[in-house]
Symmetry: D2
Subunit: 147 residues, 4 copies
């Protein structure tokens, strides 16, 4: 794998902040940022057909861990942009990074996050090798922003 | 159907109020009351095996409508009790009623609701007759509180 | 009040469906539709300055009841449009109607709703008259779509 | 500070899993675990009066970051126990740890988490020293389980 093949932030999506996202402190609740990241993740998964082996073989990713840093509170109304990229692709695991920007705050970065994913064989309950075809498609998605 | 066979409030469940249920007005958000009702509904569905025909025949209930009246705001911390009953059982539709009581408010009724359900054949997308066996099990669940 | 002064659907907002809005049935959970309506409601409230008397006099609206009809399930990904209007303005209460359309379903109506609001004096905990100035602003918002 | 003065897991709370907590994969959504941790955090904050300086001086904690590890999926119905402790208390920051156990899984650990908190002076927007009195109360809460 060459430098630059991953970590290119190929997926970006805009999400409307809702009034109900606010908590009693009048800021968007910290869990909502993770819901936004999840939406971006599912768009990425769709692009690289991450879930293709789920039906025939019951192989698919599990979310093993998550990390988030909160830099600035978000209020209502606002629209956020969530970007995501796969920044590391191991034998059976991968890291996805996220960054969230607020339109009302002039595009300022309000949070970052990382999700630790593991490819899992649900028949055995154990981790399994990320298939070469999926690996190629992930590189394809990451390269798509370079053109 | 005789009077007294339905509307007996056979299902009751206690649910912990969470801090994140509060919205920017510092009260539990109005949508959370519907999530509580849904939890009670699923416990009722389990008891009468409402979803038994889903796998073999793709017949199951759909939520056609909902109505809720809010009587008193709920705060954190608290524990609510949600009770539910089927109050009407038509050929292919039914009404489920809900009442929610707050422990912190001395068991006072804080909200009531009604869900309008329709038995649906997902193969055709049309409503279908509620099978006699399911009908019997519903009467059984409702009668269970009388003993 | 003349016919046509209310019910003009002056507020419309687009909201991104998120993957986390789906429930175990793989449809957007029925409570999420109410969160969407609430977002549209807060945009309307902002336009007519519904909450202007909250700080000085602790007078503001409470949500007394809600009604929703579900017409078609919504999936991910999608963008919904939520429209709202005040359709009835009584002495101390009002009705707000909602309609939700799905972009993925060609703009088809997927749900409708009504919220029953009451103007409340939080100092006494009782309902109170909707002030004439607020009433004028509501008519102003409703008329704004006619020009 | 002596070893053993922190990290004693003094706060424990039971929370009902709700059907609506499930996502399209039929497991409790990963964000819900963070809502559970938040509920335990607010109970801890109440015990040590963490928010006491909010009204008079606008000094209070902010959530700067979060980390979670998911060990086993949770299903409905279930009841989880969430335990929390302050494991590190710096000059102006602190770490809170969480562990979540599932009743249905025989009390098995299903997730762990850490929240990175910073004491913030909202008047200046900057971090500030954790007052000695609050520090004493935190040690008091942590010690309370030793007796």
């Amino acid at each position: 794998m060459q430098s630059g093949e991953l970590g290119n932030w190929p997926v970006s999506t805009k999400i409307t902040v809702q009034w109900g996202d606010l908590d009693a402190l009048n800021h968007v609740n910290h869990t909502v940022f993770l819901t936004w990241m999840e939406t971006a993740r599912m768009i990425y998964f769709e692009k690289c057909r991450m879930l293709e082996l789920w039906r025939p073989e019951r192989i698919g990713p599990i979310l093993a861990g998550i990390k988030a840093d909160y830099k600035s509170p978000v209020k209502f109304p606002d629209t956020v942009t969530v970007e995501t990229t796969i920044s590391r692709l191991g034998n059976s695991s991968f890291d996805m990074e996220y960054r969230i920007m607020s339109e009302e705050q002039g595009g300022m970065l309000v949070a970052t996050g990382t999700v630790f994913g593991v490819m899992c064989d649900y028949k055995t309950g154990k981790s399994t090798i990320i298939p070469d075809e999926l690996r190629s498609r992930i590189f394809g998605v990451e390269r798509s922003v370079k053109s």
